[in-house]
């Protein structure tokens, strides 16, 4: 029956002060849609909860030259409808739109999604494809920026120190030649964690009719979202047609098989990956809508 303090900093310096006082038992609340459930277990009560949602200055989406910057406490609802996200990071907006329910999207934030480090986190899959970097601040007031892959270490495991909070995600804004997509398979249409998710980013060379800058990220297979780099290379400079869609699907299947060999869920996920890949491909709208060839 622990007693938990809650502090709600409203300015950056208040946050730094709160982080300076943090202990390994301190938890950061960035929406609470995962945290509130987890701290109900007796014995896991935090000594202090630092509520980040008071930091209005961390809820933003900004275009800074060629870089899109997303504040850590931006909610999924905000991301889902943000015009800059739609234009420069559509896969992130599509991922945000598929998180949980309206209620969860209104409360849940992209920073919380990453810090919670669920292998199923929709935001992580999209940000991985976008090549995001993560900026944090710690109790000494030191800001650091490192790649997302260095933050996410595995299920519920991150490299974030107990006195470190995510403040921003940044990544190269997708240009007009880019297309991106996010697809997810859950056990039902909504309010369902991903059993498999994929984000796909391509640049379409209209003159040549081919793809480059291909980025494929898979989520909910293995400990954290990852880039399928071999698949990315194999698709580069291929035409945006149905044959490439099929190669993409086959590559997703191979990536899933390599990622979770022998896992109980593999027989299902390796088949479902085909559907997932076509869902993502069709969202790019580069070829007429296509579907797997069925024997």
């Amino acid at each position: 029956m622990g007693v938990t303090d809650v502090v709600t900093p409203v300015r950056l310096e208040d946050l730094v002060a709160a982080l300076a006082a943090a202990t390994p038992q301190t938890r950061l609340l960035a929406g609470g849609t995962d945290l509130v459930r987890s701290i109900r277990t007796p014995g896991s009560e935090p000594d202090t909860i630092i509520d980040l949602t008071g930091l209005a200055e961390f809820a933003y989406v900004r275009l800074d030259g060629g870089t899109l910057r997303v504040g850590a406490t931006t909610t999924f609802t905000a991301l889902q409808w943000d015009p800059l996200v739609r234009e420069h990071a559509l896969c992130l907006g599509l991922a945000a739109a598929q998180v949980g329910s309206v209620q969860i999207r209104n409360a849940g934030t992209i920073g919380g999604n990453i810090a919670n480090a669920s292998p199923c986190a929709d935001g992580a899959t999209a940000l991985t494809a976008l090549g995001a970097e993560v900026t944090t601040i710690d109790g000494a007031g030191t800001a650091r920026t490192r790649p997302l892959g260095e933050i996410l270490l595995g299920p519920s495991r991150t490299s974030l120190a107990h006195d470190e909070a995510i403040t921003e995600f940044s990544f190269p804004a997708l240009g007009p030649e880019h297309r991106s997509a996010f697809a997810k398979i859950g056990s039902r249409t909504a309010v369902s964690v991903a059993r498999l998710s994929a984000a796909l980013v391509v640049r379409f060379d209209a003159a040549a009719g081919t793809l480059d800058d291909v980025r494929v990220s898979l989520g909910a297979v293995g400990g954290a979202a990852f880039r399928a780099s071999r698949l990315e290379e194999s698709l580069t400079r291929l035409p945006a047609d149905e044959a490439t869609a099929q190669l993409f699907a086959e590559g997703c299947v191979a990536a899933v098989q390599e990622s979770i060999p022998g896992r109980y869920s593999l027989p299902y996920k390796q088949h479902a990956a085909v559907g997932l890949a076509y869902d993502a491909w069709n969202m790019l709208a580069l070829s007429p809508p296509c579907e797997p060839a069925w024997a």
Binding site: P42, I185, A190, V193, P267, Y268, A272, G275, E291
Partner: protein
């Protein structure tokens, strides 16, 4: 029915809707008493074992903790959670308040009682329990094979029965079809968790407030266990947020009553979702094989079935449940010979028990999946095959020998097929691409109370107040399906007053007369008829009083709009509210009546349901796009409520077909602790549900009404599974059809898990 009904058949909200939407309603979990303590259960973490040591010292040292109770310091008298009355058969006294020998993950080991819920929860985490593990029997196959390890000393088969009725005709030339269907263990998913509050009194008595479906039975279990005289135990039904059968049995009431008795303080026991899921009870998993013989034209000649039911760790009501699975098919189909073996098998898994439909959804799934196989074997349309075999009105049930009453299942099927445009939809190709469409149909039958099994009756009284309003005194147990409103509408119709001028409360053993409670599809048919008969008696007294005041013979009078009128004389009437004044109160005390009503029949209620699905062959996800439920209800008392009950029932049935399952792993654990990992169908995945009511009023319920609550969900899963099989050309019959099973059926049929039993 030719009479002109003024209130019956209209649509009325549930009686406490205003209290619900304003938040005024006090649910059990909101309820508190001065000095009340809070209890928290400690549940077994092993599926089978002996409790070797319980160390409660750290827990009891926490501030606010009153005491930790376990087998070491509590009575070890046994009780049956499913006991309805003292002399009941098939009510095995097989559990204790706290177990020394634990039989499933979730068995009650101990309870902490503390001054706050937070203290009780914190202390529960500090109670150290050491087990000596025993081999666990986690499947019915293991339990049936085991000779040395027994879940209970009486053996692992809790009950076996066989029904063999009719004569097997010559089967020469008959078409034989066999099938095996399995149905999952599922959670009831009532929104409100289980809660009970108990308070001992200095008189030696006790009051218990509970969200139960039957307060008299709760009193029986509590009084017998605590060795108290019945009149000293008062059990009061409090408002509840859903049950679906999950609060029919008396699981936490005896525990809470004991804790109050032992601490001499009021105690509240409120479960959390995980406890509701694993430690109360579940719909039992079943495996049913069916072998039928029919003529090449599709007329059934023989129906043989065998069912194995997973009782879980305590027999509870599952023996009766298993018997009832044998009593479903012959309510629906005519067959010259019917044979059904059933057995309830104990395992070290969560306890099975009552759940909406009492074996009927399980058996309807098996039967209706089988009937589609027969139709396929004979190249007959599924509707056509069923029409060749369905019962006719006033047939007799071959198994029970009871008349089926005004059984209108055939009409449900015929009208439904037209309304759903069945023939055209069935003829449409499923497609060969990623998304494939199919349609399915299934029928189901259920009962109307317990007539035929034991003397089925209800009791109530009704009186007129001095101002012409009425009060109904009955043991009503509202579980969310609107029975308080139903009773008011029935009484209103008889008396010719608006339902708002009638008060009706819920059950309280100290003040309301005996009634079994809300289960067994008995309330509208039996309790509702009791209300109608009682209201007729009061109406007779009203007419007599009015006859005297109006100086007219009773035969010249009629009631309407809260007054007694003289026929053919629009000017002369006496309003009910004037009777007290005009008679100087002389008549008022006698405008009252009490009735004990014994049911005289137990006809069948029917439903036929049609589903259209779209299956994503790439992901295995199934979307139910369209749904029609046709209902043989006799007469709708509250039309909007009947339609809503059907819509809710379809939601439950789709979940049963496609999503819900509460399995255990090799350690006997479910891994499920809430709705995050136990998925029911939610709103985005629900189709529009059309409800078509077939009303004939040929039976003995009030105004011809028959049961709705359970039958509504009986055929749903079968219709959905049949639609999926139609879309894919598969023969899937292991519920639920989760994406893994669909993908396996499409890609590697040999990998589809076979039925693990029978």
């Amino acid at each position: 029915m030719t009479e002109d009904l003024q209130y019956v058949g209209g649509s009325y909200p549930v009686h406490d809707v205003a209290q619900k939407v304003t938040g005024e309603l006090v649910y059990g979990s909101d309820f508190s008493l001065p000095g009340m303590l809070h209890a928290k259960l400690i549940l077994s973490t092993v599926p089978h074992g002996m409790v070797k040591r319980i160390d409660a010292s750290r827990a009891e040292a926490l501030p606010g903790v009153v005491k930790v109770f376990s087998h070491e310091n509590s009575p070890m008298d046994r009780f049956c959670r499913a006991r309805i009355h003292p002399g009941q058969d098939l009510a095995e006294h097989d559990e204790t308040l706290f177990s020394e020998r634990v039989r499933f993950v979730g068995d009650r080991v101990a309870a902490v009682v503390a001054t706050s819920r937070a203290a009780a929860e914190a202390a529960a985490a500090l109670v150290e329990v050491e087990y000596e593990e025993l081999p666990a029997l986690l499947t019915v196959d293991e339990a049936l094979a085991s000779t040395d390890v027994l879940v209970h000393s009486t053996g692992n088969v809790a009950y076996e029965s066989e029904i063999d009725k009719g004569e097997r005709p010559d089967l020469g030339g008959a078409v034989i079809v066999s099938s095996s269907t399995s149905t999952p263990r599922v959670h009831h998913a009532a929104l409100e968790p289980h809660v009970c509050i108990a308070q001992g009194h200095s008189t030696g008595g006790m009051t218990v407030w509970t969200t139960s479906q039957g307060v008299y039975a709760a009193r029986t279990v509590i009084a017998e266990l605590l060795d108290m005289e019945y009149h000293r135990v008062r059990v009061i039904k409090v408002p509840m947020g859903g049950s679906f059968g999950g609060k029919t049995e008396y699981i936490i009431e005896p525990v809470c009553a004991f804790l109050a008795h032992a601490t001499r303080r009021p105690v509240k026991l409120l479960l959390d979702r995980e406890e509701c899921m694993i430690a109360t009870m579940v719909r039992p998993a079943t495996w049913t094989t069916i072998r039928t013989a029919c003529t090449p034209e599709g007329v059934l000649l023989d129906f043989e079935a065998a069912t194995t039911l997973d009782s879980g760790a305590y027999a509870s009501s599952t023996p009766d449940y298993s018997i009832h699975m044998c009593k479903k098919v012959t309510k629906l189909y005519r067959v010259p010979h019917y044979q059904h073996q059933s057995r309830a098998v104990l395992t070290n898994t969560p306890v099975g028990g009552a759940c909406r439909g009492w074996g009927a959804p399980e058996m309807a799934a098996a039967t209706e999946i089988h009937m589609d196989r027969v139709a396929a074997a004979l190249r007959l349309d599924p509707v056509e095959l069923r029409l060749k075999n369905m019962v006719e009105p006033f047939d007799t049930d071959l198994v029970t020998g009871l008349p089926l009453g005004d059984a209108r299942v055939r009409e449900c099927l015929e009208r439904g097929a037209v309304a759903f445009d069945w023939a055209a939809r069935r003829a449409r190709p499923a497609g060969r691409g990623r998304l494939r469409r199919g349609v399915g149909v299934a029928a189901g039958a259920h009962k109307n109370g317990m007539f035929g099994a034991f003397p089925e009756a209800s009791n109530m009284s009704l009186k007129m107040n001095e101002d012409g309003t009425f009060e109904l005194n009955a043991s009503l147990h509202e579980v969310g399906c609107g029975i308080v409103t139903t009773m008011k509408v029935i009484v209103a119709e008889v008396l010719g007053v608006h339902p708002d001028r009638i008060a009706a409360g819920e059950a309280d053993t100290a003040t309301t007369p005996f009634d079994y409670g809300t289960y067994g599809s008995r309330v509208t048919y039996v309790v509702g008829e009791c209300a109608r008969v009682t209201a007729e008696k009061v109406k007779a007294r009203l007419l007599e009083a009015a006859a005297e005041l109006l100086k007219e013979p009773v035969v010249h009078l009629f009631t309407r709009d809260g007054a007694v009128h003289v026929k053919n004389d629009a000017e002369r009437a006496v309003a009910y509210r004037d009777i007290a004044r005009l008679s100087e109160m002389r008549h008022v005390p006698s405008i009252a009546a009490s009735t004990t009503y014994y049911a005289v029949s137990n006809p069948a209620s029917y439903s036929v349901q049609f589903a259209e699905v779209e299956v994503d062959c790439a992901t295995g996800l199934v979307a139910v796009n369209d749904f029609l439920a046709v209902a043989d209800v006799g007469r709708a008392i509250n039309r909007g409520m009947v339609e809503a009950q059907y819509q809710g029932a379809v939601q439950m049935g789709i979940g049963y077909a496609l999503y819900e399952h509460l399995d255990v792993d090799e350690q006997g654990r479910s891994g499920i602790d809430g709705f995050k990992n136990y998925h029911i169908v939610n709103a985005p995945d629900m189709p529009d549900i059309q409800v078509l009511l077939v009303e004939h009023e040929g039976d003995d319920g009030p105004f011809g009404a028959k049961s709705v609550g359970e039958i509504a969900t009986v055929p749903t899963a079968g219709a959905v599974v049949n639609a999926v099989n139609n879309a894919l050309g598969t023969e899937l019959s292991d519920l639920p059809l989760v994406p893994e099973r669909i993908i396996a059926a499409l890609h590697a049929p040999e990998e589809v898990p076979a039925c693990s039993s029978c």
